[in-house]
């Protein structure tokens, strides 16, 4: 690894540690840094409530943000490469729409069919939502993979993915129309996206699943580098392009499905972070971009979570608004600077 790359990675890693600690430290309740540190390492804390806040609320939330940000960014990078489209992101293939559809079915129909509003079920309701989101996302992903085998062109596949997304959104609209107001509200809240919803035991499940999936996605770096050259060249260099495409789509799709199931549809991170990393490291080599996207995604998600939870915003600011508000200018600045350098040469 070249030195500037190593320095960049260390800086990104450092920013994660710093932002993670800030996530534990800052919030509507003021807790001294020393006490946060002690609580984190299982030490004796002056106030039992402080310990509870740090360990039961802020820590899981920060961990969720970190893992979700990493997952979405890696998936976004994979999507952009396999579709050779800078606007591709986790949401384009309709995978997140699929998750939404699954959740919509459960949330909106449970009231109608079961006679119980899911929002009142508490913990069981949460699990039902997660499972339905995964089922919904996976169903759409399988559909996309099936289409990918039939369709040759990348653009065609991309358009079909977007169309599937529209259809899913339309079905959700119809479902909403026939649902109780209380359920619609529960669905809308889910749709805003949040790192805070995942509670206690579910956080560990989420983190463990992602800890298995993220390293697996790294196995595709050579494939992704070859896909950059275009189908013809990739194939001539010994790559089975069709199998590679399905592999990458499946990997990215599963990552998005899991994250969306636990956090709701988080927009923008997956689209923005890969661009950010290309801008910072000025490379298209996935051996650099993959770890960079993972680290930068985690870091940016932590930052967004921190801002969404700033005193005064507590609980009021949805993560999705923050990701776009922070992410869009950052990406625009990076791309703009980039462009100037290019034309300057």
């Amino acid at each position: 690894m070249k030195r500037p790359v190593a320095v960049g990675m260390i800086l990104l890693g450092g920013s994660i540690l710093l932002l993670f600690f800030l996530n534990l430290l800052l919030g509507s309740v003021t807790i001294p840094a020393g006490q946060v540190w002690k609580a984190l390492w299982g030490g004796e804390v002056d106030n039992a409530i402080w310990q509870n806040i740090v360990l039961k609320s802020r820590f899981p939330q920060a961990l969720t943000a970190l893992v979700a940000g990493a997952g979405l960014s890696v998936a976004g990078l994979q999507m952009q490469t396999v579709f050779r489209n800078p606007l591709a992101g986790p949401s384009v293939l309709g995978v997140s729409s699929g998750a939404s559809l699954g959740v919509a079915f459960v949330v909106l129909l449970s009231g109608r069919l079961g006679g119980v509003a899911l929002s009142r079920l508490g913990y069981m309701g949460e699990i039902a939502m997660t499972v339905s989101a995964i089922i919904g996302a996976m169903a759409i992903m399988l559909l996309i993979v099936w289409v990918a085998q039939k369709v040759r062109g990348n653009v065609t596949l991309l358009i079909i993915g977007v169309m599937i997304g529209y259809v899913a959104t339309a079905i959700i609209g119809v479902l909403k129309f026939f649902s109780a107001e209380e359920d619609v509200r529960a669905y809308v809240v889910w749709g805003l996206g949040s790192f805070a919803r995942v509670s206690g035991g579910q956080v560990m499940t989420f983190v463990v699943i992602m800890a298995i999936l993220l390293p697996l996605s790294f196995l595709l770096v050579k494939t992704l580098n070859l896909l950059l050259l275009g189908d013809g060249y990739a194939r001539n260099l010994g790559l089975n392009v069709r199998r590679a495409r399905i592999g990458v789509i499946t990997c990215a799709g599963v990552l998005v499905a899991i994250v969306t199931a636990y956090c709701g549809p988080i927009s923008f991170l997956g689209l923005a972070v890969p661009h950010l990393c290309r801008g910072i490291f000025r490379t298209s080599d996935h051996r650099v971009l993959m770890p960079a996207s993972l680290l930068a995604g985690a870091s940016l998600a932590l930052l967004c979570n921190l801002i969404a939870r700033m005193p005064g915003f507590e609980g009021a600011l949805p993560v999705n608004s923050v990701t776009a508000l922070i992410g869009a200018p950052v990406v625009a600045v990076v791309l703009f600077k980039h462009r100037k350098e290019d034309t300057g040469e």
Binding site: R84, L219, V221, K222, N225, L226, L228, L229, G230, D231, G232, Y233, R235, N236, L237, G238, L239, N240, R278, R282, T283, S284, D285, R287, D342, E345
Partner: protein, 334 residues
Amino acid sequence: MKRDNTIQIVDLSIGYPGKHGVKTVAEGITDTIRSGELTCLLGENGAGKSTLLRTLSGFLPPLFGEVAILGKPLRTYREKDLATVISVVLTEKNNLQNMTVTELVGMGRSPYTGFWGRLSAEDRHKVGEAIDMVGIAALGDRLVQTLSDGERQKVMIAKALAQETPIIFLDEPTAFLDYPSKVEILHLLHRLSRDMQKTVFLSTHDLELALQIADQLWLMAKGRGVTVGSPEDLALDGTLDAFFNRPGVAFEKQTGLYRIEPDYRGTVRLEGDPVCCAMVQKALRRSGLRAERDIEADRTVIAAPHAYILRESDGTTHRAESIAVLLEHITDHL
């Protein structure tokens, strides 16, 4: 020099399976392509040049017949093995961003690298060699998006060299290049075929250049199949003349090149300095006048440097200092 028949084609039919049955582009192709030679594939748009290249590269299954690469049927090659036998330079433009020339050429080593695609010291050495051979050492650290079309084409050729395959296929490598770059690329490919005993097979529309540089020509025409031979043999037996025969183009057997041939409006006899005569001939031909040294004609031009004298049939003369002035006078009084 030892030349092997690296590619043997027997009764090959190429085409695409379409919705309404199979679309056959060409059939009954039987020939060989040899190592140490530059073979140029010529033909009009739609004659099936790309289809043939795609079939020979293994991208497209043949409809019928057999292709043997290095004595082994093409269809029995695994993708991984084929990548070490055939390298390609394609027309497809990869919109690469932020990749350096060295990195791109390094991608040619992919068939030899391990799971992560990391280049070993040996790989990097071979990438350096390939870059030197193509003469783009100065471009090594440039980003691919900042290169000109000609430079980019050389980079892709370097990639093909880094791939270390005995066979290189190129689909219109001279398209979109300016004339000197076209010549440079073809010379480079010719040199590589000689020096490294590579089998170089390329399609092109640059007829004139192909006639001068190619060792073998493959002429492809819709419905007429493929005709193969050296440019000189094809010139002598009239194949080239028949192949591109259309109004306004004539094939000159003396030079073995094509010439733009207008409908002549008159004739002029030339006398004097041979070099000046040749230039006057060229200028008059452009204006639709056939000018020769050894013909009888009403008008005569006596050419010497800076002195061109036109003698009309009635004996009047007109003196011009340059060919441009002479030409102006003749066309005015035509």
